[in-house]
Symmetry: C2
Subunit: 119 residues, 2 copies
């Protein structure tokens, strides 16, 4: 069984997670049986580790982690691969694949461009 | 004259700015006469301050800053308003308005959802 984790940075403010929840909701609307969790690097719960453990406990053995980051900075290039490697050490029958950050999507870039011109 | 600054976090890696440049290119394709700069909080150049000064030197007196951030964390809620206020102190005839972060856009959320399902 396969799961998807939307990986975000995290922040102190309670409202921070709302856009991530809206992304998940939009995914569920398109694919109601998808197993989708949010997972944050710091401050916001659940953490990436918590969401991985949650999915594993539900029988998931393949997880695609999608970085909800614009550009390939340290969190995407170093922190995330390290967290994924550690999780695969903890769960030897788990396979985690890392998607490119959403800023690599032409459609995302185009939607941001339209939003910025209208702002 | 009005300008737009795409405000990003910044990172050490040289490739980090590329998605931001693609957003700017997509905006220029739609509106070739728009005055659009990138401006980063840290590490990546140009800084927000540098881009504000650049636009002011070209005669711009109204700047819309669009946070290329997913959620409303500290950088959007505190750092950016502070930087904008300081800039308006330095340039008394300059008006800066702050757009919501791109994660507030329904079209952006939907494009991210589609990307994450395909990843």
């Amino acid at each position: 069984m396969k799961g998807i984790i939307l990986f975000g940075h995290g922040a102190r403010s309670a409202e921070y997670a709302q856009p991530f929840e809206r992304i998940r909701d939009a995914m569920m609307a398109r694919q109601p049986d998808a197993l989708i969790e949010l997972g944050f690097l710091e401050l916001t719960r659940p953490s990436l580790d918590e969401s991985i453990a949650c999915l594993v406990s539900r029988g998931v053995r393949r997880i695609s982690v999608v970085p909800i980051f614009i550009g390939p900075g340290r969190h995407v290039l170093k922190d995330l691969p390290q967290l994924a490697a550690n999780a695969m050490d903890r769960f030897p029958d788990l396979a985690i694949t890392l998607a490119p950050p959403v800023g690599e999507s032409v459609a995302v870039v185009d939607a941001m461009a339209r939003f910025a011109l209208d702002a």
